[in-house]
């Protein structure tokens, strides 16, 4: 059951999807410049789910290990943004962003740094667009590279304590020429969601005016 306070209305959901979509489209344009190939994006999906369910949504599709670049954000509302892809794609992504000029040893050497940098560009681009459109500033932590599966990336432990409801946003992306695919995911807890809802209301009022609803 989702408490009524945080259930998003049709226009609020539309507004959030739009904002995320614009953020991710801009991020994809940045990634396009880094890898030199088109980055295909899916339409964003937005759900309020348990943390466990969010982990399962990723875990169901990806049986092998995952790599994620994680940045937490805080400000008017706070949450966590993740760029996730199969571990098997990790070196290919590094090769793509470094332009195939490195030896295999150099690629391995650079992997961590290149992943952190790529994640930083993409996640910052999304979050900065969201912050600008909602007219609130967000601060972001330094990107962290994590390895694991859906459960470890979403920090689910066995005690069941961390199984709160979260707003789970995700978008698939793919660089077909490089056989790279992944997800951009964002998690926000309920207090953040309640604030986000108010900011979405303000955003809607700004873009369409109060008179037309």
């Amino acid at each position: 059951m989702i408490p009524e306070l945080i259930a998003l209305g049709e226009l609020e959901r539309d507004a959030l999807t739009e904002i995320v979509n614009i953020g991710v489209s801009r991020a994809a344009s940045s990634l396009r410049k880094m890898v030199g190939h088109e980055v295909h994006l899916s339409v964003p999906s937005i759900e309020v789910v348990s943390q466990r369910r969010a982990a399962r949504l990723i875990g169901e599709r990806e049986l092998d290990g995952l790599v994620a670049i994680r940045q937490d954000f805080s400000g008017a509302f706070s949450g966590r943004a993740l760029l996730i892809f199969p571990e098997a794609n990790s070196l290919e992504l590094v090769r793509a962003v470094t332009g195939d000029t490195l030896t295999a040893a150099e690629v391995l050497d650079m992997e961590h740094e290149a992943l952190a940098e790529t994640g930083n560009v993409i996640l910052n681009s999304c979050l900065a667009t969201m912050a600008n459109m909602l007219k609130r500033s967000l601060t972001m932590t330094i990107p962290e590279v994590l390895r694991g599966n859906g459960a470890t990336l979403f920090e689910i432990d066995d005690t069941g304590k961390s199984d709160g409801l979260v707003l789970f946003l995700y978008i698939d992306f793919a660089i077909r020429q490089r056989d790279i695919r992944g997800y951009i995911a964002m998690l926000m807890d309920l207090p953040a969601l309640a604030i986000l809802r108010e900011l979405l209301e303000e955003f809607i009022a700004r873009v369409i005016g109060d008179d037309e609803r």
Binding site: E10, L11, D14, A15, T17, E18, N21, I22, G23, S25, R26, A28, S29, R32, E38, V39, L41, V43, T129, M133, I204, V207, I208, G209, E212
Partner: protein, 126 residues
């Protein structure tokens, strides 16, 4: 001359925003809305439109695919693709089908160039 604009976007909010920008520029023009490529085709089977404003990132069929189909059907119709996705390949595909790029979020300012050009083309064509 009465001009009818087709707005295609899966987001209701985005359609409202586009319609508002359009009304600011051309208050006399009318609009019809579709929430998907399929809806757009259904609508066009029953009525004709002069201009199309199409969102790029939509489920099922994306806006460039729809624009390509409309281009085949209506060789001279002014068509704009609305997107924040400014990747070279996306721009090249839009150019290839003779569609204009309009940045998202849509504002009257961002839409102005396309609308003025379209108005001119429609006047000279009629």
């Amino acid at each position: 001359m009465s001009v009818k604009v087709l707005i295609v976007d899966d987001s209701k909010l985005a359609r409202i925003v586009a319609a508002k920008a359009l009304a600011e520029l051309q208050p006399g023009w009318s609009k019809v809305e579709a929430g998907s490529a399929t809806q757009a085709h259904d609508l066009l089977a029953g009525e004709s439109v002069d201009i199309a404003l199409i969102d790029f990132n939509m489920p099922e069929k994306d806006g460039l695919e729809l624009a390509g189909e409309l281009r085949a059907q209506f060789p001279v119709m002014p068509i704009a693709i609305i997107t924040a996705n400014i990747q070279d390949e996306v721009i090249a595909r839009a150019r290839g089908i003779g569609a204009t790029f309009v940045p998202k979020p849509v504002t009257a300012e961002g839409l102005q160039g396309f609308i003025s050009g379209a108005a001119l083309r429609l006047r000279s064509g009629s």
